[in-house]
Amino acid sequence: MATTIGTSAAAPPAADPLPELTNAEILRYSRHLILPDVGLAGQRRLKAARVLLVGAGGLGSPLALYLAAAGVGHLGLVDFDVVDVTNLHRQVLHGTRDVGRPKLESARDRIADVNPHVELTTYETRLTSANALEILGGYDVVVDGTDNFQTRYLVNDACVILGKPNVYGSIFRFEGQASVFATESGPCYRCLFPEPPPPGLVPSCAEGGVLGVLPGLVGTIQATETVKQILGVGESLVGRLLLIDALRMEFRTVKLRKSPTCPACGTREIRELIDYEQFCGVGAEPEGEAVAELAPRELAARRQRGDALDLIDVREPHEWEIGHISGARLVPLATLPAALHTIDSSRDVVVYCKGGTRSARAARQLREAGFRRVWNLTGGITRWSDDVDPDVPKY
């Protein structure tokens, strides 16, 4: 599972003497070496350090680039995704020519170019309760650059169990959060948010959008905290939550305290990793009856036959503006209850969104409101573009 490459020797455990720098490294890190709080000793500490980055996406990109450039001797990278063209507006670790390649491959190329002295271990796998303790166990600092709640709770609990600092960062649209969790005396992620929101309440970046430079801002803050953690300098974000608002360009911190009732770092009830999918309610069957599905090609055939259909787009107006299926009408999901009177219950109703999730919810609402002939367009406008009309842009 793990693949290690690199030209330098493996960093020794912390108890060993710090590794020496070669002349080439001394030259490369000269601006660090003349910096009083880093110096030769600090740079050797960076070379000895082992940092695990969970995620090679928006946050993982600046993290990997800056930590490699700074001379962290050993980086671990966990990701199982492939570079998609929609990643490129923010994931600066990957380039246009990398589209379709595993992210770990493009990361490996890029990191080797940024700093060939860095040893890199890649884990092309999803981090799970079965492998997390083993993977995290080999590192001094863990950096959370994941994109979902289940992995965030998993990383947190594993860090608390193993006693590893967890450098946290999270983003949504124009806002970010950062902190350092799970140090010996500090709070953990569960002290901040004891439980995750129900699935679907907080949209992902894929659903809700994110400002491309925002992970750059937050990821470099995480990289800074990681370097400070290794050097043991300055005042870390332990016990503080940094709130970043890119629209107002406001940075502020609030106090984070270790909760005495926290099951992870307080009462220590959590002694082993749990089922985080279940904890976060992921994969649970949605409430209510199943929704009838209609494939895009079937919809196209029915329209060609001249069937009288009410085709309803339940996305937001700004998504409609990007592109929509001709003949459809826009009724954003949130406004559906108020628009029920506009729907003729004697006609067949087909609802669609970007990928089929929101429209499934809309279809369920329509069924509950008494509409009997309701279909959800399978795969949404994305599949429509793939299977029926490529002139409709995918986004």
């Binding site: 995620g55 996406g57 928006g58 946050l59 993982g60 959370d144 650059g145 994941t146 994109d147 979902n148 709640f149 965030r152 960062g169 999270s170 983003i171 949504f172 649209r173 124009f174 806002e175 959060q177 901040l192 948010f193 004891p194 439980e195 995750p196 929101p197 907080v202 992902s204 970046c205 809700g208 994110v210 992970p215 939550l241 709130l243 608002d245 629209l247 107002r248 911190t253 609030v254 106090k255 984070l256 305290r257 909760s259």
Partner: protein, 91 residues
């Protein structure tokens, strides 16, 4: 008694686009009730059907987590500031 309630952008759209609201009440819970009465769409994002705060929305009263000072029963004074911080997971 007037207290400032700061909302993240994602919730501001449910409060007529306002990021900062003036609210009145003697406790954080009363402030939330005051705001919920004025912006009904915001209410389910601020508190559960049982009236209690969610474990995934953290309230800071003058930069301190209210969970450690009585939750919604935490008393507020004129000029205090409350920040609402919902969990986000993007990366």
């Amino acid at each position: 008694m007037s207290v400032t309630l700061n909302l993240p952008t994602v919730l501001a759209k449910l409060a007529g686009g306002q990021r900062t609201l003036e609210a009145s009440g003697a406790t954080v819970g009363e402030l939330v009730s005051d705001v919920a009465a004025r912006y009904p769409e915001l209410e389910p994002r601020l508190r559960g059907a049982d009236g209690a705060p969610y474990p995934y929305v953290t309230y800071y009263l003058n930069d301190d987590d209210i969970r450690l000072s009585g939750g919604f029963a935490a008393p507020v004074r004129d000029g205090d500031e409350v920040i609402v911080v919902p969990a986000i997971a993007g990366g």
